[in-house]
């Protein structure tokens, strides 16, 4: 698979939804396959909360791509046929401009001063990337969770630039409970003694404990209760392989391990910023969702998973109903999903066929 990873600079900067401006910015971009002569085979993948530009294949820095089960030569999204683009979103911590990168104007790390961005800002910056890559229309824009919100927003903001959109395990807005969970995660980060009000870089420390706790909680929301019960149940952790002395059950050990691992890799300010993006997204803000979708021209494939309790299938159904009210060609499918919210990341025969047929139709 032809893979290119590069940092692209946007010297023209970007006006953000908040009214603030970034005078210039960088996006870390990865592409797979090749753009055809007619420029008709481009696909944009939008990553979820903790994802990045590395969607497929294996890289030294990022291991196996987050959607490698579905993206690659002869896979669901076939990189022999399509030119697939993925970028680390603005505010992230995998190479694109974000709180942990250098502010060109001060030559210091942005830290807390990096402006709050939004799903719309991400879509607008991806549109700038699209122009730079000389792509006139995306054949398909897709993502799961927060990535699905971007796919939805693409079809709203740029109706002539998206032929098909895939909105998986997503919602048109976060619920009160979603926001509440994110606030607990943020609270644990902010109150870490090493957070230093977001200026931990200057102190050469990271608020590792806070990020760990946040991620442990996040992890519970990504898995379903059934999945946890069948995988861990009430099994005790054997003494020899305890990550922490205090754990009794396997599920505790698993969360401790996952949280610890993540806490070394993800920037705390990005964690706060990304969760705020998720909370603030509301496709129908200041109007109804039906009105928000009125100019959409893309065909929509909306997939929900029964085992997903973070963005349960009802959230997808709301999008489908608003689409139907606008006579938008759309399909809404609910799959069982064995991995709760995370089900969108995993390939299954039904899920894979659905997506391939939708893209090829």
């Amino acid at each position: 698979m032809k893979t290119e990873t590069k940092l692209i600079h946007f010297s023209e900067g970007i006006e953000l939804e908040s009214g603030e401006k970034l005078n210039s910015f960088d996006l870390m971009v990865e592409t797979y396959g090749e753009l055809n002569e007619g420029k008709s085979n481009a696909i944009l993948l939008c990553h979820a909360f903790s994802g990045n530009h590395h969607a497929a294949g294996s890289s030294e820095d990022f291991g196996i791509g987050w959607w490698d089960q579905l993206v690659g030569p002869s896979k669901t999204i076939d990189t022999n046929k399509y030119f697939v683009v993925c970028c680390n979103n603005l505010g992230g911590c995998a190479g694109s401009s974000g709180p942990s990168s250098i502010d060109p104007s001060s030559q210091k790390i942005f830290g807390k001063s990096f402006p709050q961005v939004s799903v719309l800002d991400w879509v607008n910056s991806q549109k700038m990337l699209m122009d730079k890559l000389n792509i006139e229309c995306w054949h398909f824009v897709a993502g799961g969770s927060l990535g699905g919100m971007q796919a939805l927003q693409w079809s709203i903001s740029y109706p002539d630039k998206v032929k098909k959109a895939g909105i998986f395990a997503a919602a048109s807005k976060s619920s009160s409970q979603n926001i509440a969970m994110n606030e607990v995660a943020r609270e644990s980060i902010r109150k870490d003694e090493n957070f230093h009000n977001g200026n931990y870089y200057e102190h050469n420390v990271i608020p590792k404990n806070g990020i760990k706790t946040a991620r442990m909680l996040g992890h519970i929301t990504y898995l379903s209760e059934e999945h946890m019960d069948s995988r861990f149940g009430r099994k005790f952790q054997d003494e020899g392989s305890k990550v922490e002395e205090s754990v009794s059950f396997e599920v505790e050990n698993y969360l401790q391990y996952k949280g610890e691992q993540f806490s070394e890799l993800f920037d705390a300010n990005s964690y706060i910023l990304m969760t705020k993006v998720m909370d603030s997204y509301d496709a129908g803000k200041d109007k109804t969702l039906v009105e928000a979708l009125k100019d959409v021209k893309a065909e929509l494939l909306i997939v929900g998973f029964y085992s997903d309790w973070l963005y349960p299938p009802e959230r997808g159904k709301e999008i489908q109903i608003a689409a139907m009210n606008n006579n938008i060609r759309s399909s809404f499918v609910v799959l069982q999903g064995d991995h709760g919210h995370d089900s969108f990341l995993f390939s299954s025969k039904t899920y894979s066929n659905l997506i391939t047929n939708f893209i090829e139709s």
Copy 2:
């Protein structure tokens, strides 16, 4: 209402399920009403995770009792007719022996050295209290959540001492997800810089931030998604009444407020101990639940709430099925409940009638 609050000393001590022994201990006990001559009107109320001995009426130290909506003169559990007993459980922090009380052998605060107790230990200590109060048989033992687990265990451990048991919003064991949520709460406490490995008393500090985060998470699990959506939705918090500058939404402000309030009142080591009691409870441990219930003589009233996602109605149904397999007289009722898991705390006409009819029948 005749109310008595007293600290009762048990110089004989107690052997714990863990094999450890407390050489002596105290229970903080509150009683309402009067024991009749036949000693046939005694009711034991078992408190949930963060409850205490103060179940009804108003006290200077503890405000309105945790079950005041249902317990009092002419209320659901009528203190004109019944002698109602409630004690703060061993390991708690409202007067009974626990991590924050003085170890008589060392004259120092127990702290982390207070032994891990269990639901069975609580029931055994309540049995010792029963003997001290000259009660021969409880007419009714009841509780919600962790309190319901105690009511269930009473009917298993002391079949001749319980006529009726009320098991509300409870389960015969915690699920993998329940344990996972508790572990996140414990993690946030243990990693608070003021926790000092559980010896914060010596440093004259409390791990306030950790308890606050833990409680914020707990609170989400006590409320239902529907309740949160209808109460808070996506409403923004007005600037003038923000508890923390960082909050955007009302639901965040609410959690911040609730967490802050609780963090001043509850002992961190008790929080860890109580959640470990919840995690470790498994009525059918080492056998099946059907076998565990085989000697039960009490009549059971099991109530679940549709809006409860911490211990959803299926958990109550498991108890009912095991009871039916043993020909135990039992009723299983699922109510809507407007408050998620917390619904067991609130009076409603149906819930109240159910309980009164069950007690009086």
